[in-house]
């Protein structure tokens, strides 16, 4: 109940915002909003001890039980980590935003979206039901969209929002498909139930496809290569949003998903390679690209991508432990997962601080471009402190928490090379190498952040505002985060025991003891390979930073048009172009073309199938005799019909049509249908009269010039259509399995009191048809009336029909 | 004329009712009508007008005249159609009629048009002049004029 309340509270608060906004105009809306995450954080924190004791909290509320979609809230170690991050970082970000955003902004929108996001994110991590998880998952995309587009008068904001939404929702759709496969394989949407009955899923044909689809969802959300391209553009959002969604929480939803489904998919080769491979690639690509950025926020965005890759790859490495089932050996590989969880938290602390730092700089000097920044150290000492601590932690330097998890990451990559599964023995060495190279780049951009912003010469003329230190309120949140950065370094095992260990139990539910998988974290762990690697990073990093000017042009060697972003734009644009051209080509507004498509389809489908199934049959023996006068009439009709084609004058066309109609009437006579004959005669006459009446307003027939090939096509299509109808008709005539139901109507006199069978059918047996046919006629008559009486006024350029 | 006819119908109906026969049908009614005709004939002088069936007889006479004309001149048109040389000169001529009133004029025009060899193309606004198209103006003008005379007389007889 409490958990459900935690999910609901932000939504309720969001709903109340318009009210509060109107009531308390002179109090910053953020203060009210701040209550929500603070309350939730405190509430959740009370659960920490019980979670650490291995308790879990489950509760099910029925939503759509018919289709197995129920809101099952589930609080365990894994969701605890994330929920604490969401509410904790959330509190700090809102506090920060109170000083960052002026009351002139449309705050009610901002906080509404933010609360929406918070609720959705809590929903994601608390949901056991895959469908409900998906519901909240998409809600995070939506609220993220709204937040990115917060300053929607900016073109870049709109573009960024669109890109983010398109990519994350696409991933979500793929994930949905994956979930559905899991459902079909397992018969349940409950993650716990799936895990409880793993064999069924793992032996199903859907296993690998489902895994890949779920990963697509995770990778797009967590900005993994090559889907990361939305994240830099998402930096158009206000900085608190970037700090919150696009570094601390939402982008980690993908990681959460990977962690959550590791018990299901982990241990499979595809999972291992996909998660760790993509993660490592993202780690490298993000750090590599961060170095070339001039915008501090863009730099942080790429750094976030890179760090997310790091965490992702660690989960991938850790999943290998599941391959063996439980053994003491496997515990070694679970360390990677532990490191992942650890770094997840660490990253939130230092990256949150850094984002806020950048926000402060932006706020106070009006630019984030490192080419215009410099020398701010003395003017903004507190901000500088935050920057140094955050960057150092990110670079993996002691005495900050980043150092600990970074070392553990190196350990994991080194350990994995020892495995002889998944062909790791041959190419496993790539892991530590790439990890190291990426760390070098990480080091470089961390140095860039600090050096280019706070050292060097100040350039006041290139800044928007005269620089000075940020107001106190704005500094509170980053300082709290920085405090965590240091605090965790000092007391890592508190975190390990109370927070990380229960999460390990969630990821490896089949392993008996979580304590066993919880290593003792120590800053000093001997003079080992990892430490050498760290030294190497520093040495090479410093060297490369010094020579940055010399090798930076190397980035230019990658042509602008080959960046992923450019390719994305190009694919979108060119497919838009192609789609437009193709669509306009066939939907060209010319009715004749449409008829050609229809007829060609008609002939292809029907004749095609008839040839395929050999449906032709013809048996004239049952036919009635052909009287000579009938034959003559048939020829008259054919002659009239063909003459219509060649007729030059419209009146000829219409009169010949009349001849056809009269001939049809005569056939009705010959074939014993008196009512039809009467009706047809009158109707045909009236129709002909209507033609003549409307000729007053219609032009004379023109000589239609048509090319030979088009005429040939027309003739071919026409003959094909006619032939198809004829062939089906002949086969139909030869089909006599069933007796017509009409015998029944021959009792019309007894049943309906009429001797004219046709009339009794029309007036009684099928009177409903007649009733409606009268309605049809009436509509047509009324329609003709309105068509003539209600004319568009001339010069009335109504947009309605533009 | 109409009055007499209605009385005749009335008598027939009376007869029909008086018979009080459940199987009464059209023949009963016809016999009643016949009886009525007899009665009317006996009493027509009281009405001060002609016996109405006399006019019916005249109508029949008119029709007979017409049918004879129709047949005789049909043959001539058919001949002309089948004549390989097609030796005739069509044309339009006028005719002043003595008849007056819409119905008289109309009847004459109908009869004229029905007889082959002539079609009434226009009637002047005062209903006095017919413009007639003739198949063979030289030959048929005479015969047409002769028939017109006959028709005019017959029509006058009927309507007076």
């Amino acid at each position: 109940m409490v958990i459900a309340f935690s999910i609901m509270l932000p939504f309720l608060a969001a709903a109340l915002i318009p009210l509060i906004y109107r009531k308390f105009k002179n109090i910053h809306l953020g203060w009210f909003v701040l209550l929500v995450p603070v309350a939730l954080f405190s509430l959740l924190a009370t659960y920490i001890p019980r979670i650490a004791n291995g308790e879990v909290f489950i509760r099910t509320f029925e939503w759509i039980p018919t289709f197995g979609i129920n809101i099952t809230t589930y609080l365990d170690g894994l969701s605890m980590i994330f929920s604490l991050l969401i509410t904790g970082v959330g509190s700090l970000v809102i506090l920060y935003s109170i000083f960052y955003l002026s009351t002139k902004e449309s705050l009610h929108h901002f906080y509404c979206y933010l609360l929406l996001f918070m609720g959705a994110m809590l929903g994601v991590v608390f949901s056991d039901n895959l469908m409900v998880l998906y519901v909240f998952w998409e809600l995070t995309s939506v609220s993220s969209f709204l937040l990115i587009a917060f300053w929607h008068h900016r073109k870049a904001s709109r573009a960024g929002a669109r890109k983010a939404m398109t990519i994350t929702v696409s991933g979500g759709v793929a994930m949905l498909a994956g979930f559905l496969m899991l459902y079909v394989a397992s018969g349940t949407f409950s993650i716990r139930e799936i895990i409880a009955d793993l064999d069924v899923v793992q032996s199903s044909v859907y296993f690998v496809p489902a895994m890949c689809l779920v990963l697509l969802g995770a990778f797009t959300k967590s900005a993994q290569f090559p889907f990361h391209i939305w994240l830099p553009d998402a930096m158009e959002a206000p900085t608190p949003v970037s700090a919150y969604l696009h570094s601390a929480t939402m982008v980690k939803a993908g990681i959460y998903l990977v962690a959550r489904t590791t018990p299901i998919f982990g241990g499979h080769e595809v999972w291992f390679w996909a998660v760790s491979g993509v993660g490592l690639l993202t780690l490298f690509w993000g750090s590599f690209n961060a170095v070339r950025q001039y915008d501090l926020k863009a730099l942080l965005a790429y750094s976030t991508i890179s760090q997310l890759g790091l965490i992702m790859s660690l989960f991938g490495l850790g999943s290998a432990a599941l391959h063996f089932g439980y053994s003491t050996q496997s515990v070694i590989y679970t360390q990677a997962t532990f490191a992942a969880l650890f770094h997840l938290i660490n990253h939130s602390t230092f990256k949150g601080a850094l984002f806020m730092m950048v926000g402060i700089v932006d706020h106070e000097v009006g630019t984030r471009d490192i080419r215009r920044l410099g020398g701010l150290m003395s003017l903004m000492p507190f901000t500088f402190t935050i920057a140094v601590i955050g960057s150092a932690s990110m670079a993996g330097l002691p005495p900050f928490n980043g150092f600990l998890s970074k070392e553990m990451f190196f350990t994991a990559t080194l350990k994995i090379t020892q495995l002889d599964i998944f062909s790791l023995d041959s190419i496993g060495l790539l892991f530590p190498i790439i990890a190291w190279v990426a760390s070098v780049f990480t080091f470089i951009y961390c140095v860039i952040i600090v050096m280019r912003t706070f050292f060097g010469k100040i350039q006041p003329d290139r800044l928007e505002k005269p620089p000075h230190e940020a107001p106190f309120g704005m500094l509170i949140s980053p300082f709290i985060l920085v405090a965590f950065v240091i605090g965790i370094f000092i007391f890592p095992n508190v975190l390990g025991h109370y927070i990380l260990s229960p999460a390990m139990a969630s990821i490896y539910p089949m392993f008996p003891s979580a304590e066993e998988m919880t290593p003792h974290i120590a800053a000093w762990h001997g003079f080992n390979t990892e430490l050498i690697m760290t030294f190497g990073v520093i040495v090479v990093g410093v060297f490369l930073y010094r020579t940055l000017k010399k090798w930076r042009p190397l980035y230019l060697l990658i042509p602008q048009s080959f960046t992923l972003n450019a390719i994305y734009e190009r694919v979108i644009n060119s497919s838009e172009g192609v789609s437009g051209r193709v669509t306009n080509r066939y939907m060209n507004g010319n009715l004749t073309y449409y008829f050609v498509y229809i007829y060609v389809f008609f002939v292809t489908l029907l004749a095609g199938y008839m040839i395929y199934a050999d449906v032709f049959s013809w048996d004239p023996s049952k036919d009635s005799v052909i009287e000579p006068y009938e034959l003559v009439l048939v020829f008259v009709m054919i002659a009239a019909a063909i003459a219509i084609i060649f007729a030059k004058q419209r009146i000829t066309v219409v009169l010949l049509n009349g001849v056809l109609g009269y001939s049809v009437a005569f056939f009705f006579v010959v074939f014993r249908a008196p009512d039809l004959a009467l009706t047809q005669l009158v109707v045909e006459s009236v129709t002909t009269a209507l033609f003549l009446l409307s000729f007053k307003y219609l032009p004379k027939l023109k000589n239609e010039y048509i090319s030979k090939s088009w005429r040939f096509a027309k003739v071919t299509i026409s003959i094909a259509v006619g032939a198809t109808v004829t062939l089906i008709g002949l086969a139909v005539m030869n089909y006599d399995r069933f007796e017509p139901i009409s015998k029944f109507f021959e009792d019309s006199y007894d049943l309906a009191g009429g001797k004219n069978i046709v009339n009794t059918i029309l007036g009684d047996f099928r009177a409903f048809d007649t009733m409606l046919e009268v309605v049809v006629l009436f509509i047509a008559g009324l329609g003709v009336y309105t068509l003539i009486k209600l004319k568009a006024k001339k010069g009335d350029a109504d947009v309605e029909s533009k | 004329m109409l009055g007499q006819f209605i009385i005749n119908l009335f008598i027939a109906a009376l007869w029909f009712l008086l018979k009080d026969d459940p199987t009464a049908d059209f023949t009963t009614f016809m016999s009643g009508f016949l009886v009525g005709t007899l009665i009317l004939y006996a009493m027509h002088r009281f009405f001060g007008t002609q016996f109405y069936l006399r006019r019916v007889l005249k109508i029949i006479k008119l029709i007979l005249i017409f049918i004879r004309e129709l047949l005789s001149s049909s043959v001539s048109v058919l001949k002309q159609v089948l004549d390989p040389q097609m030796n005739f000169t069509p044309g339009i001529f006028t005719y002043e009629t003595k008849l007056e009133g819409d119905y008289q004029v109309t009847t004459l025009a109908l009869l004229l048009t029905l007889t082959p060899g002539s079609v009434v193309m226009e009637v002047s606004e005062d209903n006095s002049t017919f413009y007639i198209h003739a198949m063979d103006i030289e030959e048929s003008k005479e015969t047409v004029l002769r028939s017109i005379g006959k028709f005019e007389r017959a029509i006058l007889e009927v309507t007076q």
Partner: protein
């Protein structure tokens, strides 16, 4: 007596005919048509409830037992559609009250709308294939008039294309009926199903089924949708919305009945064909929506996409796909009506149709903008809005049937839907406002009412999906077990 089944069709007809006498009293016309719609909606709800207790209901007109007479059959599938169609029509009428204008109202606008609905409801309810043709014609004739009503140059130009294609399609329908009668010698849909089963659907019957496929594909916009984009973008907004909500649905409904009830026995031919057509429809719709530059083009191609989406369910044919299709049909009627009402109102307010020429509407009309946003999310299938559950169930069916290509196309299409609608939202609602506060056109009050009601339905259908689940499941069960339907119709003891 089950006479109640006929009310959703006959009451609109009678009202329409009565309104002809009131054409100068506009207020009264509005009241009467609204009351009629409320009545029809109420009747449908009652009917839906009755079916749950009494099973499939039918009314044999004049008391002639099937297969000889005409009858209406009410199962959950048809009544759900009747209910939705009537609801949507009611909302569109409310919209029309404040937007359509006196000229149209005096020219029998309301009667034509009611006739349209009568045709639609009749098509959903009839159990006789020839009567289906007649009901189609009632609907089509009304739509012909509505599409051309009061039209200028372009409206008439598109109208004639629409009418001509549909006329040809109708005559092909008759050809199909002739072939059907020539082979099966009966017209009652259940009886047809029985005879087809008896004959084992031999190839000739499949040919007949394929002719019906072509006919209903034309009507439903499945692959043969060429009439659709032009005609959907020219009439007045209320009419556009009605068209978008109702017209293709009737064709799709007929396809469902044809290939689940009457000709279900050669799925390797018929359902494969439907699957291929559905896939191509999705692709074509996506291309159109993706490249569209004006709001109407984007909206109309979205209609085409959803046709493909729903037909994927038919091609898949599992029970969950059927349930999904039912949900999605309901969702799509509501959603497309709202979409067209909203974009029509955008055009009305700005006098523009090209997306990039409208800007910043959300500042002037905030609620309007957010309703658009919600509608967009619903159409994309973002939970917990209406498109979600249908999409999930269809996807589930696709997975069960291992129809991965269709699954990919169907799910992929929602991304294009998103992309295309985002284009509108971002460009037209977001961005700098180009209209001054003073110059702004007042939002018609009735319009807002209809938007809000439709949005409530959309949200309600998503969040309260369970509320409909019992009906939807029943509908899906009947669709995948035609014997239930056949038995209900041909069992004369009832």
């Amino acid at each position: 007596m089950n006479n109640i089944i006929v009310l959703p069709m006959i009451v609109p007809i009678i009202t329409a005919a009565l309104l002809v006498f009131l054409n100068n009293n506009i207020k009264l016309q509005r009241v009467v048509s609204l009351v009629t719609m409320i009545f029809v909606v109420g009747t449908s709800v009652v009917l839906l409830q009755l079916i749950q207790t009494e099973g499939i209901m039918r009314i044999d007109f004049s008391g002639w037992a099937p297969p000889f007479g005409i009858l209406f059959v009410a199962d959950s599938f048809s009544v759900l559609l009747v209910l939705t169609a009537s609801l949507v029509t009611m909302f569109c009428l409310i919209y029309a009250f404040s937007t359509i204008g006196e000229r149209h109202e005096k020219m029998y606008f309301y009667p034509f709308v009611l006739f349209l609905l009568a045709g639609v409801n009749g098509s959903f309810l009839t159990g006789d294939i020839f009567n289906l043709f007649v009901c189609f014609e009632v609907m089509l004739l009304a739509s012909y008039v509505l599409v051309a009503l009061g039209g200028g140059k372009i409206q008439l130009r598109e109208s004639i294309k629409y009418v001509l294609i549909n006329v040809v399609a109708s005559w092909i329908f008759l050809v199909a009926l002739a072939f059907l009668y020539g082979t099966l010698k009966t017209l009652n849909m259940a009886h047809i199903a029985q005879r087809v089963a008896e004959a084992g659907q031999d190839p000739l019957l499949t040919v007949v089924a394929l002719v019906f496929l072509i006919v209903f594909a034309l009507k439903g916009g499945l692959l043969l949708f060429f009439w659709l984009p032009g005609s959907y973008s020219v009439p007045p907004t209320a009419v556009q919305a009605l068209f978008a909500a109702l017209l293709t649905k009737v064709g799709m409904y007929a396809l469902f009945r044809t290939f689940t009830l009457m000709f279900p026995l050669q799925p390797e031919i018929t359902h494969t064909a439907i699957g291929v057509m559905a896939g191509l429809t999705i692709i074509a719709g996506c291309m159109g929506a993706f490249s569209g530059r004006d709001v109407r083009t984007i909206a109309t191609y979205n209609v085409i996409i959803s046709v493909g989406f729903i037909m994927v369910a038919l091609a898949i044919g599992t029970e969950s796909a059927m349930a999904g299709a039912v949900y999605y049909l309901i969702h799509d009627m509501l959603g497309k009506a709202l979409l067209f009402l909203l974009i029509g109102t955008m055009v009305l307010l700005t006098g523009e149709i090209v997306v990039k020429n409208m800007n910043g509407l959300i500042r002037i009309y905030p609620l309007f903008g957010w309703l658009f946003f919600i509608m967009m999310c619903a159409l994309v299938g973002i939970p917990p809005l209406s498109g979600f559950i249908g999409k999930v169930l269809i996807g589930q069916g696709a997975v069960e049937a291992e129809a991965y290509v269709l699954l990919a196309l169907a799910f992929g299409s929602s991304i294009i839907v998103l992309y295309s609608l985002l284009r509108i939202f971002l460009a037209s609602f977001f961005g700098e406002t180009s209209i001054n506060e003073e110059d702004k056109i007042r939002m018609p009050r009735g319009a807002m009412v209809s938007f809000i009601l439709l949005t409530i339905c959309i949200v309600g259908l998503g969040v309260g999906a369970e509320g409909l689940a019992v009906y939807v499941n029943d509908a899906a069960y009947t669709l995948s077990n035609p014997a239930v339907y056949i038995d209900a119709v041909l069992n004369t003891n009832k």
